[in-house]
Symmetry: C2
Subunit: 323 residues, 2 copies
Amino acid sequence: MNKDLEAYLRYVEKSIAEINFPKTPASLYEPMTYIMSLGGKRIRPVLTLMSSDIFCGDFSKAKNAACAVELFHNFSLIHDDIMDNAPLRRGQKTVHEKWNTNIAILSGDAMLIEAYKLLIQYPPDISSELIDLFNKTAIAVCEGQQLDMDFENTEVVSKEEYLEMIRLKTAVLLGCSFKMGAVIANTSTENQKDIYNFGVNLGIAFQLQDDILDLYADQSQFGKQVGGDILANKKTYLLLSAFESASPSQKSELNSMLKMQQKEEKISAAKNLFHQLKVKEQAEEKMNHFYQTALSNVNHLQIAESGKEILISLAEYLMNRNN
Amino acid sequence: MNKDLEAYLRYVEKSIAEINFPKTPASLYEPMTYIMSLGGKRIRPVLTLMSSDIFCGDFSKAKNAACAVELFHNFSLIHDDIMDNAPLRRGQKTVHEKWNTNIAILSGDAMLIEAYKLLIQYPPDISSELIDLFNKTAIAVCEGQQLDMDFENTEVVSKEEYLEMIRLKTAVLLGCSFKMGAVIANTSTENQKDIYNFGVNLGIAFQLQDDILDLYADQSQFGKQVGGDILANKKTYLLLSAFESASPSQKSELNSMLKMQQKEEKISAAKNLFHQLKVKEQAEEKMNHFYQTALSNVNHLQIAESGKEILISLAEYLMNRNN
């Protein structure tokens, strides 16, 4: 992580610590303070600050918007964790486990509203643009989450449908985070569009990298079980590519692999089949396509070269990871 | 119901029918169309139209805000029904019963965002005021719902705490519905304040009447089981007044009543104790206090007498009911 990122991150942590939720009812507000204190990469608010800084040389103006996107992200984590029946989040109990499902539903709702409370603090013309963008993004994230749940019970999902799902569920919020900073900095519509697309394309590339790392990461450097997606029969880009490229006999081998019980055996069968079908190469090609498109979005921006360099080094930082 | 109310109601139904939710993902949007089609009194959107009409002679301008408050109300019903584990809503299956809890959580979230999408369609200076009001109201409704859940596990709840809970959970949304119409009509800040307070005070009076009717309504005219709150040991204004006025020996009689299993016997024991403690009279006095305050809010408005008459006849309509 370079020096600029660290400075933004410190400012994000300070700003989040300063959000003053009311004290009562405690069971409504304590879960908000709790989940916000669990940390995480804080990528989204950093993007908002960075974007504002690049376009107008001031990131402090973007403070409320940065906190709003992080609140929204954490609202979605609280509700997603209920839906996934997840016991842990960042190594700590999820909100519905620590309190209960009703409290998790309601404090999630209130957290979404708290995000709007931060956005409405800008002057009307700015807050109007921010909230319009936020509405579209938030609805897209809900649609993406719904598609993701739908896929679990769908026999055949195409790679295109999968890309659309990750665009909605993950990538548009990165685009939105960047664009909010650009709106606050009052840059041109063209620049706003480019930085939004940069975020979306980078987000899709990042998510594809996630899928690849899940099976091909070095276990000694990976935070989770390598092959976790395969063990859960998760329809990732890798698995969907495999099914799309497979011959009838390879399809039946893939289906046999999905039914395997023994962990090591299953992961090795998947790797073997994926190797035959050049699945990793397909995913990397798609990831690089989105990454290159993201870089071309940066090059299209009408800003100083130093700003472009910051964005490109951010993209490199996000795409050169082992976990 | 008078002629004006019916006209507003027809316009509300038409406007709701015209809301065009996207078609996919179906499992995200179908629950919205479903719950909105279950009907209900549509009180809140009618208040928004009526208010706009009274202050500027045009209710069509308030269409989006009216739909937004009804969407918000129905979002809160979807999530409350999960929390209450309720199987039925308006005689039909609740969303989490017809689909499942995950879909009910997510489509509720999306419905809240849809409400904001309607409000952002006003010009920036108006939408900014509307959303600021909406944020404060929505958070208050969440706080009220949380207090209501907290009360179930609280030994002693005071009458004042109960009044604050119903103010937050129910009454502020009526005030907000009225005030939105007033903001759209661009009336004076003073008028906006008065119509807001009218809604809040009327809302509290209405909820107290609800508590009274639940035990004292004529069963032949009442849509639900008379005494339902008593059978569920619900901490209503009646029960809380009874405990506050009771002597130590009457308190132990109240506690025995709460443990009774036989329905008729329990209701009759409650009525008997409440009669001794003048509980109905206390509740009626409090209800009348809020009702009279609501009427004084109307009298304070700087509008034509005909407008005041419409508001007063609405208040009479809401407060002269048997169910």
